[in-house]
Amino acid sequence: MPDASRWRPLALLGLIGLGAAVTLGGIDELTRSTIDDQRRAYALRAVSAILAGRNHDNDLLDSARPIDIDGLEATTVYTARLDGQPVAAVFDVTTPRGYSGDIRLLVAVDDGGDVLGVRVLEHRETPGLGDRIESGRSDWLEQFEGKSLGNPSRDRWAPDRRDGAFDTVTSATITSSAVIDAVKRVLATFESHRNRVFAESGPANANGPD
């Protein structure tokens, strides 16, 4: 039976492929909901931590909506509310202006437009130099707390190495500048679209006019 033996390897390869597909399908089914939960938990941990203890009673993750900010990519906004009143907004933004690519940041802004806090979520900046923007490695990010577009004035939102009002991470002027620029862009969008940022979420519209 020379013909049959010629097909046997092919049949075996097909069987292995089928086995792999079934196994992976099963594992995907088994892990998918856990992976989703983990991703949500990770995002929630980061967003809650940055709100610095501001009380809120809504589900932050459910409030997530996309928003366009000029010059930033992949932007999402979470809104924190207490009794339906806006308390703060947390922006998840990615700036492409880092020294080695994208830097992903969380920027929390309170009701009045002051920065509550800034956290770096992902980056590929140089270890030992640019990575000192991480909150675990230095307190550089803390200088943004309480700042707003008028404090310092708009044209001073730059690292001090470029005559701005913010400290520069030593030997990482580009990295520092990228983060400062991203926070400034978030604040500018918040200022000009404040009502849209807070209005678009569920409760504000769902209840309708009183």
């Binding site: 046997r8 292995i16 792999a20 992976i35």
Partner: protein
Amino acid sequence: MAASDAKRIWRNGLWDNNPGLVQLLGLCPLLAVSNTAVNGLALGLATLLVLVVSGLLVSALRHAWRPEIRIPAFVLIIASTVTAIDLSMQAWLHDLSRTLGIFVPLIVTNCTILARAEAFASKQPVSASLVDALAQGAGFAAVLLVLGAGREIVGQGTLLAGADMLFGPAAADWTIPMLPFDQGLLLAVLPPGAFIGLGLLVALRQKLVNRSRESGLESGASPSPAEPSTP
């Protein structure tokens, strides 16, 4: 399988034919992820697991392999195993899989795994293949762990930073400060530090091998007292 065979296979994987230090296989993840001891250990364990599962499958089906389909079938088995482990890590070791990022999926391209499937598992019984996979995986993981620990100590001045990602919240305070000052030697954490560190490890192993070979020759010349020579 005789005990002496198992011993030889273990010695092969851990020392004589270590995948990282002698075969110099799988260098991409080895160099990229070995910036801390925990990262190194985690990727080493993931690689070990892939080696064991793929080795067992390839060995169990060893009578069925034909030259035409051998390589595609091995790659299919290895890629499926890696995907399964990547998904499991995302589900149950989420922070760690974030840190290791692309390097878990990239285990597929680690030549050590295909090399062991081809050179060993496809020709040997299941029990021997299991031992070989464990030995080669342990050898690879050990190099990753030692290189990661060295780079972490010199570069960051800590040891076991981030252990909670692998061992759970209880391990959060396992981090041991190793240097009296804050900033370590930056070079060790950067990519060149990986090459230099691996080079030093290869050189150290070579020196030990040469020394044992020299002393082996000396003791070989005179009959050893422990084993009386047969007439």
